[in-house]
């Protein structure tokens, strides 16, 4: 269900940008999505194929760049991949950490004709 809503927003943004560029057709959409963004690429492509019918983005290829979850220590600045249930900084042991990557959800570019 979440993918349906994300896909609608994504399609409308792509169409808006394509119209601004006076393009005739959108052939590709390049997306950057973090592991924590709650977006399953296959689901998005599935919905996209349905809702893009009869728009200039029909048949466009979706490319996903998936960003892994990365944690940054607020004390020493170390960036690391968290292990299950162990998020203390492996360098200094501090538990004061922030999510440095993994929440991305944006459109990098579109390819048009």
């Amino acid at each position: 269900m979440h993918e349906a809503s994300i896909t609608e927003s994504m399609l409308s943004l792509a169409l808006e940008k394509a119209r601004e560029a006076k393009a005739a057709k959108v052939t590709g959409i390049n997306l950057v999505v973090g592991e924590l963004a709650g977006v399953v690429p296959d689901c998005v492509q599935f919905y996209f194929d349905v809702i893009s019918k009869n728009t200039m983005a029909e048949g466009a290829r979706l490319n996903f760049e998936i960003k892994p979850t990365q944690i940054k220590c607020r004390k020493c600045g170390n960036v690391f991949t968290p292990a299950d249930h162990k998020w203390e900084c492996p360098k200094c042991g501090d538990s004061n950490v922030e999510i440095a990557s993994g929440r991305e959800c944006y459109m990098e570019s579109i390819e048009v004709e």
Binding site: H2, S9, W87, I110, E111, V112
Partner: protein, 221 residues
Amino acid sequence: MSIKVIQVGEKILGKNEDKAAENKKRLDGRKILTVNIMSSPGAGKTSLILSTIKQLSKKYKIAVIEGDVASSVDAEKVNAVGAPVVQINTQGGCHLDAFMVEEGLDNLPLDKVDLLFIENVGNLICPNNYLLGEDIRLMIASLPEGDDKPYKYPAMFADSDVVILNKTDLQPYLDFKEKAFRQVVDGLNPDVIIFPVSCKTGVGMQEWFTWLEGKIKEKKG
């Protein structure tokens, strides 16, 4: 035809953020303190709203936007305690967005509201990605869900201003480690305020009421 690449570099939910800022302006103009309540299903969103209305409704006018699931059971409960409530139909959706909340605002007597609760859809995965126009993002974690929830939904905990740790009355039956829970949550979100409460017995609720009342007054200026 040649293929051209057009740089976009925009958040997919950018439109939602614009609408949320519009809602916020509208609510700020009327000095309405707005709380977005998020949790998994059954953690206690409706219970917290009902207890808080009972405690504060003599002093403040409270309204509710109900987004939780398909039925209107929660809205009816709120209606029964005498607060204006609008039920939003999310059509099976997993989160509220700012456009739905705008519709809710259109249907509330905003000139007569001091405090607005928005009960989000019961889900810890995505609602935090949708700003609604709120002042306070509140999440409820309940003891039966376990103390490892912050590892599973770190973004939700990182985004919350307030965490209500509900159902503390069940502690004797569970091995929920509050210290471990607090350590991860405080680490992810050093500014967070955690209120351990039981909506059932009322333990811990006074601290929450007092804090919230302070925020209402702050907003009134």
